[in-house]
């Protein structure tokens, strides 16, 4: 019913969330129409001019109790049949890191720092005192496992059809990592690292074909008020094929020797 409104869906679980929102809206519509029809009819039928003497008792039937029980059952079904299992899938059934693309995202006023573990697959250490806004926004320690780590600003790249696990945190205030196309939203909270996962199912190239819009981009939006530029805290997600993704990582890695910064825009 409402697909036309949602942002184009591009993750494995997007369909089930959309269906659920659809189903809830059907329920709402039915209730509204039943109530509304009863209401309008009553207002006309029982206006003082047509019904000068009110009936002390009014409705005797128990239909409304039946209605209330039906509403309760419908809510129970939505809850037990859909919402609770879907939520469990999001927060309890996180796939193994070995089979996934693992990324860290460190939010800050007003950008998304994306952090990859590099060739060794191990994230380095971060230390707030190493932070330098221009050259090292995540405070990465280049000694040890961090030597080959890669970071970008506002550019998240992922391979298609493979689970992506993103460990989210924030340097300063609470932000919210919103990927409308992926039906993902998770607050980034300083002091906590929160995993969020999804499987992108369409590459950027595919979604451009599907929408007929050659400039279509997957956007990352901030959904939690985080200061004066909250409205423009925009990032981008590019979904590649596996080969393209590897090529992108290799290219990023090749910049490492230069200056330590690799803040370029594809």
């Amino acid at each position: 019913m409402m697909d036309a409104m949602f942002p184009a869906a591009a993750s494995e679980h997007a369909g089930e969330i959309d269906n659920m929102i659809d189903a809830v809206h059907y329920l709402m519509l039915v209730l509204f129409i039943v109530w509304g029809a009863f209401f309008l009819y009553t207002l006309m039928r029982f206006r003082a001019a047509r019904n000068p003497k009110a009936d002390y008792v009014g409705v005797k039937s128990k239909a409304s109790t039946v209605g209330e029980v039906l509403v309760a059952i419908a809510e129970g079904v939505l809850l037990l049949g859909f919402s609770i299992p879907m939520w469990a899938e999001r927060v309890d059934e996180i796939p193994s890191e070995a089979d996934s693309t693992v990324v860290r995202v460190v939010a800050q006023q007003f950008a998304w720092n994306v952090w990859y573990p590099g060739a060794d697959g191990v994230f380095g250490e971060a230390d707030p005192y190493l932070t330098d806004e221009a050259t090292n926004p995540i405070g990465l320690d280049r000694d040890g496992a961090g030597a080959d780590d890669i970071w970008t600003v506002n550019q998240l790249h992922l391979p298609v059809d493979k689970a992506a696990i993103i460990h989210l945190t924030s340097k300063d205030v609470i932000h919210s990592f919103n990927l409308p196309n992926m039906r993902i939203k998770q607050d980034a909270i300083p002091g906590l690292s929160i995993p969020v996962w999804f499987v992108p199912t369409k590459t950027t190239v595919q979604i451009r074909e599907e929408t007929g819009n050659p400039d279509y981009v997957y956007e990352i939006a901030c959904a939690q008020l985080c200061g004066n530029s909250h409205y423009s805290m925009r990032g981008f997600l590019t979904v590649h094929t596996e080969e393209e993704f590897q090529a992108w990582l290799d290219e990023e890695a090749s910049y490492l020797g230069d200056s330590g910064t690799d803040d370029f825009f594809n």
Partner: protein, 585 residues
């Protein structure tokens, strides 16, 4: 049980003349205080609405200079008339704060509760008249603090009405003033709540048993319990956040924060989520504080104008009490996206679905009450009837937000803004208007004008929907709330940004639609049609007192003999049977 009215100290006071100050300013008479609260509430509703009208310009025409008043706002807020994002955030946070804590609560609880409840109880005054006065003046100080904070060098608070830490801890704007203002407002509500509960327990007229209490009184009692039990945690949290800001504590600040490239030199070890729990532990019950008195008003007006008893009065009262209890254990449904595990989210979703049932029961009972009635379409009734479907939309759109999986795309979008505004704007505000039109004769001795009333209602109904319905569409498209440019930064939001113009125009037209009300209000004080004691042929006790009611309220002893809504009793020639017989008959 209650003493006869003569025993009250407040009653004795009215024998000697009082100075102007004691009578109208530092009055202890619940009716004067009720009017003070109502006028304050209406003024702040208007002010909060004005803030929103300025914001709506920026949303519809981002980056364009604000016409008329743009140049008056000052260089630090709107250089060249163009609104800065910081100023947008201030307006947003203060709109929310003012509407909730200084608009609706003072009018619905402080105003209607104070004025009407003692009258409906057949009491001469509130149980603690002086505490009542202090409660109003605390509110007044809170209001002055909030209002004055706009003139601070760094402006008013701009961190959302929710004031999430760490942003609110480290913000340079008027958050400190906001916290001090909140402490006054909370204190005011706590004092009021104690008074309401004591009054309802102690001062009911003889014969006014609990199940003979008008639904409005029940609504006020449950509301008072919510305020009493939910506000203290927020008051405590407010003090903690204040300490974080002024005394370098870290209740809500974790270790290792890096702000603007610098490590924040604080002790750390605090928890940002603690603030959210404490905030929502108040703020969820608070939404019931905004809605229950409104339901109470609607119930009174519907019973009176359908000329029949409320259908299912008892189940409505039990639902109300159950709702009150449940409202304390749903708060974290505002926090699904903070990283909640399955157990917590299951608990809070389940309680949220459960709490929807008593709301459905109350709303259904109100709808069903109309069936078989002899409905009079006067202005109070129109607003009360308008409340029903509007509140219905507000309640229904809460469903997808209460189911955590569906909440993922909808959380913090305009869908949420649309949802709760349907509850509080065409919902609560309509009920409050119904109450103003309905009890105006009791306050002033005169009725408001019916034609102007209808001229107020119909355009308001149209434009309310014009403002709030498109928000649902924007929300389903994923547009975040609190965006200082209305979303045009984002491609996905840009698609529906055009709706912003329509909504803004509706909001401005909504303002125009309030002009008949303002004219009517002031004109009717002096020139309205004279109303006797009981202009609506109503049953409840407030209509037994003279209009306007004198100090001490009643000029006759009251003995309640029946339930609150004995309309159209079979076999009686009058279509209403007052709860207590007027002395003359």
């Amino acid at each position: 049980m209650a003493e006869p009215v003569q025993a009250s100290p407040a009653h004795e006071e009215h024998h000697h003349e009082q100075s102007f100050w004691r009578k109208f300013i530092f009055s202890t008479d619940h009716k004067v205080i009720g009017v003070q609260y109502s006028v304050t509430g209406l003024a702040f509703l208007f002010f909060g609405f004005c803030l929103m009208m300025i914001m709506r310009w920026q949303l519809a025409y981002p980056g364009e200079p604000i016409p008329l008043i743009g140049s008056l706002l000052g260089e630090n807020r709107a250089p060249g008339g163009i609104m800065l994002p910081d100023f947008y955030n201030e307006l947003g946070a203060m709109h929310g704060t003012i509407m909730v804590f200084l608009g609706v609560v003072p009018l619905a609880v402080g105003g209607f509760g104070n004025f009407v409840m003692p009258l409906q109880l057949g009491a001469p005054d509130m149980a603690f008249p002086r505490i009542n006065m202090i409660s109003y003046w605390c509110l007044f100080l809170g209001g002055v603090t909030m209002f004055a904070s706009f003139f601070l060098p760094n402006g008013a608070a701009g961190n959302g009405w929710t004031s999430y830490s760490p942003l609110a801890d480290i913000a340079l704007n008027g958050q400190t003033a906001w916290l001090i203002g909140m402490i006054f407002l909370i204190t005011s509500s706590l004092l009021g709540a104690v008074n309401f509960i004591t009054t309802a327990v102690q001062l009911r007229a003889p014969g006014l048993t609990w199940m003979r209490l008008p639904f409005f009184c029940w609504a006020q009692i449950v509301t008072a319990f919510l305020l009493l039990l939910a506000f203290p945690p927020l008051e405590a949290a407010g003090v903690l956040q204040l300490m974080d800001r002024v005394a370098a504590t870290s209740f809500f600040l974790p270790d290792g924060l890096v702000v603007g490239g610098e490590v924040l030199e604080v002790s750390g070890g605090g928890s940002p989520l603690l603030w959210q729990h404490l905030f929502w532990f108040l703020a969820h019950p608070e939404v019931y504080v905004l809605i229950l008195p409104a339901m109470g008003i609607v119930a009174e007006v519907i019973a009176n104008n359908s000329r029949k008893p409320l259908w299912g009065y008892r189940s409505m009262v039990y639902s109300l009490i159950f709702l009150g209890f449940m409202s304390f254990i749903v708060w974290a449904h505002h926090m699904f996206i903070t990283g909640m595990g399955s157990v917590m989210s299951t608990f809070f979703q389940t309680t949220t679905m459960i709490i929807s049932i008593p709301s459905v029961i109350i709303l259904s009972a109100l709808f069903i009450s109309l069936w078989g009635g002899s409905i009079r379409y006067n202005t109070p009734m129109l607003f009360a009837l308008g409340f029903l479907p509007m509140f219905g939309i507000g309640g229904l759109t809460g469903l997808p937000l209460g189911l955590s999986a569906a909440d993922i795309p909808l959380h913090d979008t305009y869908y949420v803004i649309g949802h709760f505004h349907y509850v509080v704007a065409p919902g609560t505000l309509f009920a409050l208007f119904a109450g103003v039109y309905y009890w105006f004769p009791k306050v002033t001795g005169r009725k408001m004008n019916e034609f102007l009333g209808k001229l107020h209602f119909w355009p308001s109904l149209v434009f309310m929907n014009g403002v709030f319905f498109p928000m649902m569409i924007q929300g389903l498209n994923g547009v975040s709330r609190r965006l200082a440019d209305g979303g045009i930064t984002y491609d996905f939001a840009g698609e529906v940004a055009g709706l912003n113009r329509m909504m803004s125009v509706s909001a401005w037209c909504l303002a125009v639609a309030q002009i008949p009300f303002i004219i009517n209000f002031f004109m009717s004080i002096r020139n309205g049609e004279k109303a006797g004691r009981n202009p609506w042929n109503s049953t409840t006790l407030e209509w037994l007192a003279p209009s306007p009611a004198p100090h001490g309220n009643f000029d006759q002893a009251i003995e309640v003999t029946r339930g609150p809504y004995e309309y159209s009793v079979p076999g009686s020639d009058k279509d209403y049977a007052p709860q207590a017989e007027p002395a003359s008959t």
